[in-house]
């Protein structure tokens, strides 16, 4: 039966007119994969090949077959294979271009991630590129900083950005220096060769040390402390002069050892840290790279003995010059001698392939004064020309805009402070970029959503009058209630006429007065003051498309009722004097979270606000977490003890660029938690049973209430406010 199936599928591809290349690739793949996991995969596999041929092109189908045959997930079985190919197929359906890029890197990505992480990485890419196929292709390409950052996140590799602040503190503590720490630009394929580099103001570091995941933190620490040692103990740069590339490399090794030994004398722990990385064996092949590694180890570890006479000689000379370690000239002197000897031994040195080892060491470019422009000499040295150029443009040049942009991008921004922007959009004004939580990567993605403020549609200027008439009884009841509310801390009051406790000082004074036959003070009690009212409230109204729907048994829409409820609350806020703000929100993808500002905290509620409230209109989707975070930033200048966001919504978080139903729910939950950490409470009024269910999952039972009789919203919202704030 299996053989029959196999023949059937093969014939399907053979006779479909896709060409011999496709069939051959398909047949090879099927044979190899069947041996691994059996033939259950065949049907879907064949479907995918067929689809790719039709939609993507035959070359893509061939690539797919090759990659399928090479798939190397650990413990690969038919279920895993099915998930892999389904995801490839999903991407192909969205964008054949992005799928091609994905397939090209498939060996790398599936070799570095397990299936679950790989699927999450793909999903993140689909979200990232939801509005742009080019972005999606870029994401899968692994050729730029952004795509590498995402990939490394998912692979669990320690990112430099995760520990940057810690490294800065450690450099300040140990060396009392504060350089900018900036991730280097890196191509994925050359990552293993990447080294750090530095100037007096900037340390460039790899965004991640590929292959060093187990001791990534130590690698970064070793790297920055090594560069710190150069700054502390290095003097001015060496002149290249007539030195050959091999001599330059050897002098650099001696200088590395010199500054490390000096630093280690003051801070012995650093010496232990760096020594850990030197693992060159005591004997081995005599290539330049290996001999340099033995020399490096011999210099830092006097207990290391090697069969390599040349390295041992270097060690002897270095330690004999111990009393002169504070003089950089010994590096050049020893390096010259060793370089000449190595030349006489006819050891070949390939400057192009040379990489300073161990991995934490810098590229040594800062040690050398290069001629003004990259020349043939530099090419001969083949010291990383790009880095030299980058450093030349930044050395002593505070105005280098690229470095400044990177510096400002990498500055640690406090969560909750919306980053303002002056970019004007055609139909909305970009006012902030805020983070969003990706639960699949367990990561808060910085600047993921764009908040745009839209010009308000203006309604009636007599709106509050209309509300006053329509809801007069409700308004009167609520005003009575509000006047008896109070919040905030109570204070101790001494020398009171009444109170639960005696004021000791006042009591003693009174007794003294009695004994001295003078009239005593009557106020001998202690009391506590009523709490002073100190609350700011931001009313956040869902204005998504679903609020256009009419309320059952009513001619009013959900949004109309939200507006009316808000207007009643305005009357009450004015009575109590609580600072308040009102905002309507909706969204059209993460790049367009739409805010309609009805009233801000620092303005009086006037006619324009009234008309803005009356003019709120329904449309688009409900990216709730982003809206909550935006509201959170609005409290930055309020000085009240309590801060509350009162969210009124008829649905669950959703948006057009998010397929995963859980994604925005998790993000909203996360936003609520973040706001709580900065003492901003969030309470959700959910309109309808279904909305109530979702709200409970996100805000918890005590963080929400469900109003099923929507017509009662105006009344209930006011009562709810009284309850929440008393």
């Amino acid at each position: 039966m299996e053989i029959k199936m196999s023949v059937h599928h093969k014939n399907r591809i053979k006779h479909a007119g896709y060409g011999q290349n496709v069939f051959k690739a398909y047949e090879d793949a099927v044979n190899k994969i069947t041996i691994q996991i059996g033939s259950a995969f065949l049907q879907e596999f064949t479907n995918t090949v067929s689809y790719l041929c039709i939609k993507g092109g035959k070359a893509e189908a061939v690539l797919f077959c090759k990659r399928a045959a090479e798939l190397r997930f650990k413990n690969l079985n038919d279920k895993m294979f099915f998930e892999w190919q389904k995801k490839i197929s999903d991407v192909a359906k969205i964008s054949p271009k992005a799928c091609k890029v994905l397939l090209e890197n498939n060996s790398t990505t599936t070799g570095s991630l397990d299936l679950s992480s790989w699927l999450d990485w793909i999903d993140t890419g689909l979200r990232y590129g939801a509005n742009s196929i080019d972005n999606m292709a870029d994401y899968f390409s692994l050729t730029n900083q952004v795509s590498l950052s995402f990939f490394n996140e998912h692979s669990g590799t320690l990112m430099f950005t995760n520990i940057k602040e810690q490294l800065k503190l450690e450099l300040k503590s140990l060396f009392n220096i504060t350089p900018d720490l900036i991730p280097n630009k890196i191509k994925f394929q050359s990552a293993a060769k990447q080294r750090s580099s530095f100037s007096d103001r900037v340390f460039l570091l790899p965004p991640t040390y590929i292959g060093s995941s187990k001791r990534a933190l130590k690698t970064y620490q070793a790297a920055v402390f090594h560069m710190g040692a150069h700054l502390r103990y290095g003097k001015k740069s060496f002149e290249v002069g007539q030195l050959k590339p091999m001599q330059v490399a050897i002098v650099s090794i001696i200088e590395d050892a010199r500054v490390e030994m000096l630093a280690g004398l003051e801070l012995p722990g650093l010496n232990r840290l760096w020594t850990e990385f030197h693992d060159a064996p005591s004997s081995g092949i005599n290539t330049a790279q290996r001999m340099f590694e033995r020399l490096s180890r011999a210099l830092i570890d006097p207990n290391f003995h090697t069969d390599d006479g040349w390295a041992e000689k270097g060690k002897r000379m270095f330690y004999q010059a111990r009393d002169s370690w504070d003089d950089p000239r010994i590096s050049r002197a020893i390096g010259n001698i060793l370089g000449n000897e190595l030349g006489q031994l006819r050891v070949q040195f390939n400057a192009k392939d040379y990489v300073p080892n161990p991995v934490y060491r810098d590229d040594n470019n800062e040690l050398w004064a290069f001629p003004e422009a990259p020349s043939e000499d530099m090419q001969a040295h083949d010291l990383n020309v790009d880095l030299v150029e980058a450093r030349r443009t930044t050395r002593g040049n505070k105005k280098n805009s690229k470095m400044q942009e990177e510096t400002s991008e990498n500055e640690n921004e406090k969560y909750g402070i919306a980053k303002p922007s002056t970019v004007d959009e055609k139909s909305g004004r970009l006012i902030a970029k805020l983070p969003e939580f990706d639960y699949t990567a367990n990561k808060l993605r910085k600047d993921w959503v764009s908040i745009l403020e839209y010009r308000n549609r203006l309604g009636s200027s007599k709106y509050l009058d209309y509300i006053e008439n329509e809801y007069s009884e409700v308004i009167q009841k609520s005003e009575r209630l509000f006047s008896s509310l109070s919040l905030g801390p109570s204070k101790k009051l001494k020398r009171q006429a009444e109170g639960e406790n005696l004021d000791l000082d006042a009591s003693v004074d009174a007794l003294i007065s009695i004994r001295t036959k003078t009239a005593p003070e009557q106020n001998i009690f202690e009391n506590r003051s009523k709490p002073s009212r100190s609350l700011a409230i931001h009313l956040l109204l869902d204005t998504s498309e679903s609020t256009r729907a009419l309320v059952p048994n009513s001619s009013k829409s959900i949004l109309e009722l939200e507006r009316e409820a808000a207007a009643i609350l305005v009357k009450s806020f004015n009575k109590t004097g609580d600072p308040f703000a009102i905002t309507g929100f909706s969204s059209n993808g993460r790049h367009d979270v739409r805010i309609q500002t009805v009233k801000q905290f620092d303005e009086e509620f006037g006619m324009s606000n009234e008309m803005s409230l009356a003019g709120l209109a329904s449309g688009y989707s409900t990216r709730m977490g982003a809206a909550l975070r935006y509201c959170g930033t609005s409290f930055n200048k309020t000085l009240t003890d309590r801060k509350l966001i009162l969210l009124v919504t008829d649905g669950e978080p959703s948006d057009i660029d998010v397929n995963d139903a859980k994604y925005l729910k998790f993000d909203t939950k996360r936003a609520v938690s973040e706001l709580k950490n900065v003492q901003v409470d969030v309470f959700c009024v959910a309109l309808g049973k279904q909305a109530g269910k979702h709200a409970e999952q996100i805000f918890g039972k005590s963080g929400c209430v469900s109003i099923n009789n929507l017509s009662s919203l105006p009344t209930k919202l006011t009562n709810l406010y009284v309850k929440l704030t008393s």
Partner: protein
């Protein structure tokens, strides 16, 4: 009250770092109140104890706090079975008996409390005790000393200018490394090598002042760490408990301190 109770009979262990003893003695001779300014745990209180011992004067110490009232300094009437009686506060005791009165962390007290010292710290040298109807003339040997940590200054917690200007001020810093090492050695009774490592740690941590820490590690904390290390605790663990955990709750700063400690040991 027997003022002799306030005499310091055993020589406090204090190592001069500069000419502070001479300066204090000069201020004492001229009855100029002294303000000691410096970070916490750098030896201000120990210095005052030393000077009190050296000058053979009683020392009355008051730890100031926000709830302190003028009555806490000057005195109050109390009740017993025989009736009311006046009880001198520490400032009055010192003024009456020619002692040194030391107000530690004076900036913690409210400004309306600290103004009570004004009349006794200018050339009048009198302390009005309104409740008794007494105008106490301070003894010739009375001397007022205050301390505070400028690093904790804020708009709310600061001395009035009129109070500050009644004093001459001595600046205290953490001692030089060699001196601090000797202090840790002798106070904690530990070997020079351990004391030296601890002082190195403190020195590095002080680079983080204003960049993660309000203050670096103090000499007092080093002495704590040194003492802990004598009881079977490794130096790393002693530092964790006495330095890292005590000085900050910020996790990143803690990690940086741990790295610093590992580098120094």
């Amino acid at each position: 009250m027997d003022i002799a109770e306030f005499l310091i009979t055993q020589k406090p262990n204090y190592i001069n770092v500069g000419d502070e003893t001479d300066l204090f003695e000069a201020a004492f001779t001229n009855k100029i109140p002294v303000m000691l300014k410096g970070p916490t745990g750098c030896g201000k209180t120990r210095f005052v104890e030393y000077m009190a011992w050296f000058l053979k004067k009683p020392l009355v110490t008051v730890s100031c706090h926000e709830d302190m009232t003028a009555a806490d300094l000057v005195g109050r009437y109390l009740l017993n079975s025989d009736g009311t009686f006046w009880h001198d506060g520490p400032l009055t005791i010192a003024a009456r008996n020619g002692a040194i009165c030391y107000l530690d962390e004076v900036v913690e007290a409210r400004q309306d409390t600290t103004v009570v010292i004004h009349s006794i710290t200018d050339d009048r040298r009198v302390l009005p005790i309104e409740k008794k109807g007494e105008l106490l003339k301070a003894d010739d040997d009375f001397h007022l000393v205050v301390s505070y940590n400028p690093g904790y200054q804020s708009v709310v917690k600061d001395l009035k200018e009129s109070t500050k200007q009644r004093f001459c001020a001595l600046d205290f810093e953490y001692p030089a490394n060699e001196v601090e090492t000797n202090i840790v050695c002798s106070e904690a009774d530990v070997e020079l090598e351990i004391a030296s490592s601890l002082v190195k740690i403190a020195d590095k941590s002080r680079n983080l002042k204003g960049a993660g820490l309000n203050e670096g590690v103090s000499t007092r904390m080093l002495i704590h760490a040194a003492k802990l290390s004598k009881n079977g605790l490794s130096l790393l663990s002693a530092c964790e408990v006495a330095l890292v955990n005590a000085i900050t709750d910020d996790q990143e700063v803690r990690k940086a301190l741990r790295t610093t400690i590992s580098a120094c040991i």
